[in-house]
């Protein structure tokens, strides 16, 4: 389409619309083709992550499953890869899990309740909030340095240095922000009418929270806590920094014992040159993933079960 009369249309502004060039041609067919291509690309992009995940799991299982016999779970680390096992690091991880939960759960939930139910909206509360979201983004290895200086060195007399207790406390600090945030989210989801009703009956804030708000929020808090804990037991870097051992030939039986943990053991085996140790690492990863799966499964189970009940 060309126009012979230049006065019929305003002069084309630079870079603007030009009817003569077909700018008003909808050309739907080609645009829909691009649409389809774009849609397919987004689907591919979404599935690339999942495909990599599938390859990762498959590769690990193919490598490690043959190694996963009964004595792998009950043996101690060894220089001979076929005799090495994860008994001491599995027990170490369970200890860490317990110690971390013991400290992180009450403190995290307490802080969450304070911020959500008691704190008034002032500069101090806002500082706390900003601080917590910043802490959540601090790399885990920095927590390792904190644990090394605080728990291992400064409080070494109490924690006995590079002990399970130091490790558990470090991991507890690491996941505190996560527990605080998920506690607040769960409390936020409880309708305000419950609080108003409690107060109208003359109960104090704490009585209302304890007897009515918390029972409603507890499933959400538990779910958040378990997910945070499962993140903690997958952590390697902070434990290496505070001095977890790679060769522990006994089962730790108190919180002041030196220790190893599953991720540490996996790291150690992976970084050795011998092929057989890599197989051990793969088997260790399977055990670790199973533990994580159990924890996350529990979390999801709690969420679903109590969601149904409250309806």
């Amino acid at each position: 389409m060309t126009t012979s009369d230049p006065n019929a249309l305003p002069a084309k502004p630079p870079g603007g619309i030009d009817i003569a060039q077909g700018d008003f041609e909808p050309n739907l067919k080609r645009r829909y083709q691009y649409d389809n291509i774009f849609r397919i690309i987004t689907w591919i992009a979404t599935f690339i992550g999942l495909i990599v995940l599938a390859i990762l799991i498959l590769d690990t299982f193919l490598d490690g499953l043959p190694r996963l016999t009964g004595n792998f779970l009950t043996s101690f680390p060894s220089r001979r890869p076929e005799q090495a096992g994860i008994a001491s690091s599995l027990v170490g991880t369970l200890w860490l899990l317990g110690i971390t939960a013991l400290f992180a759960f009450p403190i995290g939930v307490g802080a969450g309740i304070y911020l959500q139910e008691f704190a008034s909206d002032n500069w101090f509360t806002r500082t706390l909030e900003i601080n917590i979201s910043n802490l959540a983004a601090v790399p885990s290895i920095i927590y390792g340095l904190l644990g090394l200086a605080m728990f291992v060195q400064l409080l070494g007399a109490i924690t006995q240095g590079r002990s399970l207790l130091s490790g558990g406390l470090t991991l507890a600090l690491l996941i505190l922000p996560v527990i605080i945030v998920s506690t607040r989210e769960s409390l936020k989801a409880v309708p305000d009418s419950l609080r108003l009703a409690g107060m109208a009956l003359g109960s104090t804030r704490w009585q209302t929270v304890w007897s009515h708000v918390l029972p409603q929020a507890i499933p959400g808090i538990m779910t958040g806590t378990i997910i945070a804990l499962s993140r903690a037991i997958g952590e390697t870097a902070p434990l290496i920094v505070i001095g977890a051992q790679t060769f522990v030939a006994f089962l730790p039986n108190n919180p002041f014992s030196s220790f190893s943990a599953m991720p540490i053991q996996i790291y150690n085996w992976t970084s050795r040159p011998q092929e057989e140790f890599h197989t051990n690492a793969a088997a260790g990863i399977i055990v670790l993933l199973v533990v994580l799966l159990l924890m996350n499964g529990t979390a999801i189970y709690i969420r679903n079960r109590f969601q149904k009940q409250s309806l």
């Binding site: 645009r31 829909y32 649409d35 774009f38 849609r39 690309i41 987004t42 689907w43 992009a45 979404t46 992550g49 995940l53 390859i55 990762l56 590769d59 690990t60 403190i107 995290g108 307490g110 802080a111 309740i113 304070y114 008691f118 500082t127 706390l128 910043n134 802490l135 983004a137 601090v138 790399p139 290895i141 920095i142 340095l145 090394l148 200086a149 605080m150 600090l173 505190l176 605080i180 003359g202 109960s203 104090t204 804030r205 704490w206 009585q207 997910i227 997958g234 952590e235 870097a237 290496i240 920094v241 505070i242 001095g243 996996i266 790291y267 992976t270 970084s271 993933l289 994580l292 996350n296």
Partner: protein, 314 residues
Amino acid sequence: MTDSVQPGGGRSDLWRPNRSKSKRDELIVKFLFGACALLSIVTTAGILYTLLIETIKFFRQVPFTDFFFDTQWTPLFTDPQYGIFVLVSATFLTAFIGLLVAVPLGILAAVCLSEYAPRSVRAWLKPALEILAGVPSVVFGYFALLFVTPFLRTVMPFLGLQTFNGLSAGLVLGISILPIVASLSEDAIYAVPNSLRQASYAVGATKRETIINVVLKAALSGIVAAVILGVSRAVGETMIVTLAAGQNPTLTLDPRVAIQTMTSFIVQVAGGDVAVGTLKYDTLFAVGTSLFLITLSLNVFSFWFVRRFQEKYE
């Protein structure tokens, strides 16, 4: 206690509230929980204090100029040199490769999840992507070193990859930060009001044109924030780079050779039972401080960016 109360019954004392006890309980609880919340400030103070003290000790022995301008990082040698830039460049090299993976995949996945995926598919696709976020980093490290590197060496032998290299570490790093980029971007895209999409359709744009020209632009501040947080995660990631990129501090931008990032230096030294009060111990914290400052400024920048550029819709 109260369940035995019968209105009009004889136990009238139950109806007399013990207000002073309630008040006292309230105060105790408030104080205890307030202390819990305060612990987060104490943690921050602890981090700053420990980093600062040891870093000051470090700079008493190593001049600032050496730290920033030396081109070698050899603190474990007899003639030590402390050019932090060597570690920083390696950190950013791996993070950059990670971003090349995570940013396009993350944003496209976010678009797919919020704009294209039917509800039923989204219901399992999103949790599936979240599994990726729950994989421990040591597992990713294993994967990078023992699957990705051998795989790349077989498929692309002409690259000449070393056993330890920045490329595999960076690629897997990208996969590991993909969920955070995708899920934060999706939140931002999800928050774009439907009226904007409808307006775009009304003037004849197709779905792709609407997404690219309207939705993504409206969500840009959130997406940028997601990417910055992704960078911060990648910079602080430890196990993938320690296992797959090696422990060979070299000032290079060549992704095929072994390098050492800030985090893997900390692991290498701390893993070797370092004694307190030595320069080696202080070096650990000097590197930690550098890492902390970099991630902190990225996080603060990300928060600020959202605040400053977020589009507000009524």
